[in-house]
């Protein structure tokens, strides 16, 4: 894919407007984040982009093609890891391939080739309940990646993790991103995470939710080791905070 474009999306539930005229763009290889308060409509926007929810107005365009309300084009990792308890890790991860019609043996082979890369080596035959939270998250990420190596929506992919695991997984994720060039739009309400990972940040604020500003993080990737302790990092956070307070 070259660009994913969301144009003027509005959504309401039972007459209550949740999103109003939201437009977002994601270009090839970018890591873009959607930052906003809880209940602001972030997940709702992802449901629209993934095609699960038909918006009241607006369009979703993938390389100019209208995919509004048509699921099956974009990888979507939901807010919960949703590993199916009755499938082993390798069969969970291979699910998108099976759904696409790939034979079981071939699907397992393709999946297992990436287990090491995603830090899941040796977990192939385990059940989801036997993994730690961080591993479940990585398994869900791998499943998302196997659906499409192109563009992915990640809904708060790291929010369920403790701070230490989180910063380890951030470093790992940035590292992997350098190699796999997945274009990613992800949701967070963690400012540090937003600045640390993103090329650009959209702020979604208000009731109904609108995109009130877009912040470009100029820091090159891979980020330097101590970026999260630098004055620039703090500067970005301050800007975000100001924007959130007076949109």
């Amino acid at each position: 894919m070259e660009t994913l474009e969301v144009r003027g999306v509005s959504v309401s539930f039972d007459g209550r407007k949740v999103l109003e005229d939201v437009s977002v763009t994601l270009r090839k290889g970018e890591l873009v984040c959607l930052l906003g308060v809880s209940g602001g409509g972030k997940t709702t926007l992802f449901n629209v982009i993934s095609g699960l929810l038909q918006p009241d107005a607006g369009q979703v365009l993938l390389d100019e093609e209208d995919i509004t309300g048509k699921p099956g084009h974009i990888s979507y990792m939901l807010q919960k890891d949703l590993l199916l308890p009755y499938r082993t890790i390798e069969d969970n991860v291979a699910l998108p391939l099976l759904l696409r019609g790939v034979k079981k043996r071939e699907a397992r082979k393709q999946a297992s080739a990436l287990f090491e890369e995603f830090g899941l080596g040796g977990t192939e035959k385990l059940w989801p309940s036997q993994l730690s939270g961080g591993m479940r998250q990585r398994a869900a990420l791998l499943r998302t990646y196997l659906f499409s190596q192109d563009v992915a929506l990640l809904d708060e992919p790291f929010s369920a993790l403790d701070t230490l695991t989180k910063s380890a997984i951030h470093r790992w994720y940035l590292d992997v991103m350098e190699r796999i060039h997945l274009s990613t739009l992800f949701i967070t309400h963690d400012m540090d995470e937003a600045v640390l990972l993103s090329d650009r940040i959209y702020l979604l604020t208000g009731q109904p939710g609108r995109i009130t500003s877009e912040i470009v993080v100029e820091e090159p990737r891979p980020r330097r080791q101590d970026f999260n302790l630098s004055p620039e990092f703090l500067q970005y956070k301050r800007r975000i905070q100001e924007q959130l307070q007076n949109p």
């Binding site: 449901n47 993934s50 095609g51 699960l52 699921p71 099956g72 974009i74 990888s75 979507y76 939901l78 807010q79 919960k80 949703l82 199916l84 308890p85 009755y86 499938r87 699910l95 998108p96 099976l98 759904l99 696409r100 040796g122 977990t123 385990l126 059940w127 989801p128 309940s129 036997q130 993994l131 730690s132 659906f147």
Partner: protein, 254 residues
């Protein structure tokens, strides 16, 4: 195994008390035969009992398999079409309020004394717990998981195959275990009410002969057959859902 120890001990104690009550003359032998007498009757009549038990087991299995198949069919249809659910579900509930002993003689009238009316009766009592269990399971599926599969391009058939069906397995097996117990009881009742062979028929014969030891022997046997069938279901359950019986959870492979 340790968890079953109290139950085994309790049953043993009960049998011993019963034996003591009989031997001491507390309860007259013509009212309640002692356990030893019952086991003797069981042993002496073993060839005949085995023959009848086989007939009963066969009926129960036929009925159970067909009942499960029909239950599955109903559940899938009612899950797929909401209208059908609303129309048929109340009828299913109503059908379960009809006492078995009332339909069994009718089935004999319509279908004769052979195996058919028995199997039909067993189907009637077994499909219901299976249908209800499966429906419950289908309906309790995580909506977000459905969303996940839809986002991967799955249609209704694939969502059913990869999500709804496997998710409903725990509830299905709960229903199946009940159905297995019903199937043996159903078989015995329908034999009792008309037939040529089976433990129910044996029962009517020893009853008219006032052979209480044999009566109790066959009761023991029926319980044993039911338990064996339920154990088989549990075994199948463990085979089908190994992930629910893991010993150490959260083990780290590294």
């Amino acid at each position: 195994m340790r968890s079953k120890l109290p139950a085994v001990v309790a049953v043993a104690v009960l049998l011993v008390l019963w034996q003591l009550a009989s031997v001491s003359g507390l309860i007259p032998a013509y009212l309640l035969p002692s356990p030893v007498k019952v086991f003797q009757a069981l042993y002496n009549d073993r060839a005949l009992l085995a023959e009848h038990a086989l007939v009963t087991l066969q009926e129960a299995l036929y009925g159970l398999v067909l009942g499960v198949a029909i239950g599955f069919f109903f559940a899938v249809l009612m899950d797929a079409f909401e209208v059908l659910y609303r129309a048929v579900y109340p009828i299913l509930i109503l059908s379960q309020t009809i006492p078995t002993v009332a339909i069994a003689p009718l089935l004999v009238l319509w279908f004769g004394y052979e195996m058919l009316p028995k199997v039909i009766l067993i189907i009637l009592v077994t499909f219901f717990p299976v249908t209800v269990g499966l429906l419950d399971g289908f309906r309790s599926v995580d909506r977000d998981a459905v969303g996940l599969l839809r986002s991967m391009g799955a249609g209704r058939v694939r969502i059913f195959r990869y999500l709804k069906c496997p998710s409903a397995m725990p509830q299905f097996f709960s229903g199946l275990r009940i159905a297995a117990a019903y199937s043996v009881v159903g078989a015995v009742i329908s034999e009792w009410l008309g037939g040529f062979a089976g433990l129910g028929v044996y029962m009517t014969r020893v009853k008219s002969a006032f052979a209480f030891d044999k009566m109790f022997a066959v009761i023991f046997l029926i319980s044993a057959v039911s338990l064996a069938l339920m154990a088989a279901v549990s075994l199948l359950e463990r085979k089908c859902m190994p992930y629910r019986y893991l010993k150490d959870r959260k083990e780290d492979p590294k």
